[in-house]
Symmetry: C2
Subunit: 147 residues, 2 copies
DNA sequence: GAAAATAAATAGTTTACCCTAAATTTTCTT
DNA sequence: AAGAAAATTTAGGGTAAACTATTTATTTTC
């Protein structure tokens, strides 16, 4: 069974590959703020589940399956992040929350989130009036529109 | 340290008190879909943290602290649930997702969620136009407004 | 090419949850 | 009030994910 924590590892490995090319145990550990020995242990488990290819002291790579999952997490994450920022959540906090939410949201909720983003982006104006008014409302706690 | 799981227990105990008056080990177990023996174990830990009052085979109650936390979880949950439903997430799924989200959302995100609800509810119409249009957009994936 | 530095792997613990099975206590029935 | 049934507790295990400390490999540097 693929756990939330394994999803964290997949995401980190996926990102490291993207930015660094090579994936080092200690870099994974650093990103997850844990010790390298914990990473080795987890990689063994993830290997058994067919998520990574990994032999002692050899290059670490994601399997097809691992990469698919990582990619879909990344896509989910991007939607959630964008959504939170539309709502006016400050960037750093939005990043944190998005990482937590990506593990747990149902696909239905995710669909509504994606629709929301699309609804805003499909609008001819850069930011629709109602969203501007929402931002205003967040700041001053009062309406300035007829809705 | 108060874990997410303890928060689940707090919520369940709080609800059981509200609806049943009396809190039985087996009811907690049933609600959480686990065995009674696991509940006993957890109650011991929660007792050490000052979240519940509990002596073998005696009545279970929340402490002041436990109740505060439970109450604040309930409030959070209600906001999240309402929010998800405004977005058009079906009730049952919204309930599930809200229970997961209540453990992890930052207070900033929660504030934006509450503002969103308030923004909708402050509007003189029962449902603001932009929200109606969003619902339409979710269904047909096209705009019918000037935003 | 050997010593020093760095990286990775292993062994043994810990903590938070959960489980089953068995023992005990309480409650219900007759 | 005694025996049956239900609820609770205890004892003993298990798994996921971390940790520390030690050992083994690989790189770097001299």
């Amino acid at each position: 069974m693929i756990t939330k924590r394994m999803e964290d590892y997949l995401r980190v490995i996926y990102e490291l590959k993207y930015y660094n090319g090579d994936i080092k145990i200690k870099d994974i550990a650093f990103k997850l703020n844990i010790k390298p020995s914990s990473v080795v242990e987890m990689l063994d488990r993830m290997k058994d589940l067919g998520l990574v290819k990994y032999e002692k002291r050899k290059r670490i790579t994601l399997t097809k399956k691992g990469e698919e999952i990582a990619k879909s997490l990344k896509v989910k994450n991007e939607s959630i992040l964008k959504f939170l920022k539309l709502l006016g959540v400050p960037h750093n906090i939005a990043v944190e929350d998005a990482h937590k939410m990506e593990h747990i949201l149902s696909k239905e909720t995710l669909e509504r989130i994606k629709d929301f983003i699309l609804y805003v982006e499909t609008c001819p104006k850069p930011i629709p009036n109602w969203l501007k008014n929402f931002r205003y409302f967040c700041k001053y706690k009062k309406l300035r529109c007829k809705c």
